[in-house]
């Protein structure tokens, strides 16, 4: 049995997580992996957006509940996964703070149908710039896959 704390997306609102890239280099992002959960495969089109510190959209991609199910090759309607949001070409991001957002259109949340972003417990991949005092303060879970160049 596994327990997760998640923030469900309310109709008309967004879920947002700030993320800082701290090295003086240009990151070539291969993929974003938000840890998402769909409850009852809700209808609608979901959008994962990357905004810069001026809140300008630098990248976005849409997907549906069906896409999340396909990613896991499942027909079940209650699915959690690090969903791959993959730019067609590597996304170049410089050092700075970005905001990753989840929004939706044509979506109505209910107790039986919703999409949620699972919160991270004890993140071994990303440092936090604050100390959560309880699990409700954990950030929204996300993985970033970046291309690396050089001699392997």
């Amino acid at each position: 049995m596994s327990d997760f704390i998640a923030q469900s997306l309310v109709t008309g609102n967004t879920l947002s997580q700030s993320f800082s890239l701290k090295l003086n280099t240009r990151y070539k992002v291969a993929a974003f992996y938000p840890f998402l959960y769909i409850h009852g495969a809700p209808a609608g089109i979901f959008t994962f957006s990357v905004k810069d510190e001026n809140l300008l959209i630098v990248y976005s991609k849409t997907f549906t509940s069906a896409d999340i199910k396909t990613a896991l090759s499942t027909v079940n309607n209650y699915v959690r996964c690090f969903y791959p949001v993959i730019p067609v070409a590597p996304l170049a991001l410089d050092k700075g703070t970005f905001f990753f957002e989840l929004s939706a259109s044509g979506y109505v949340n209910s107790p039986t149908q919703f999409i949620a972003w699972i919160q991270q417990h004890e993140d071994l991949n990303n440092d936090l710039d604050y100390v959560p005092t309880n699990d409700a303060e954990n950030p929204l879970a996300l993985r970033l896959k970046v291309f690396k160049e050089g001699i392997l």
Partner: protein, 147 residues
């Protein structure tokens, strides 16, 4: 955003809903429901949860002769699986006496029940004869998961 606590069985996907706790769940009370009717989506699986603690607000209102009439009850409800059947135990209410054990007597009354075998929560409601009727169950639920 609404915080939810999800309790999953093993695996990344499931054909049935996992248990969810810790957030408010709102359901509509239709007017004059004579036969026990499902509270759609409120059902407990005894394989994954055997005890459920709920804070429940029951709210019904209508307008009679241009005067709004409100009824609101706040009550604790425990749903529990005794090994063979689901049971329901309401207690400690404040406000209007809306929730009745088995029979609707007054127009504002509500009967809350649970199907013993399936864990499906159901209700009946009295007939509020005014205009602009509104009725809601608002649950704050904690499900004690089977470990």
């Amino acid at each position: 955003m609404t915080m939810r606590v999800l309790s999953f069985a093993d695996g990344f996907s499931a054909a049935t809903a996992p248990d969810i706790s810790g957030t408010q769940e709102n359901y509509t009370i239709a007017n004059n429901v004579v036969a026990s009717t499902n509270v759609s989506g409120l059902i407990f699986n005894n394989l994954t949860v055997k005890s459920v603690f709920a804070k429940l607000e029951v709210e019904r209102s209508h307008i009679i002769a241009a005067v709004p009439v409100y009824y609101r009850q706040v009550i604790d409800v425990v749903f529990h699986w005794d090994g063979a059947a689901w049971n329901l135990s309401p207690a400690n209410y404040t406000g209007s006496d809306l929730l009745q054990s088995s029979t609707v007597v007054n127009g504002q009354d509500v009967v809350l029940s649970i199907v013993a075998a399936t864990g499906q929560v159901q209700y009946k409601s009295g007939n509020m004869i005014g205009t602009s009727y509104i009725g809601n169950f608002k649950f704050s639920i904690t499900r004690i998961a089977v470990v």
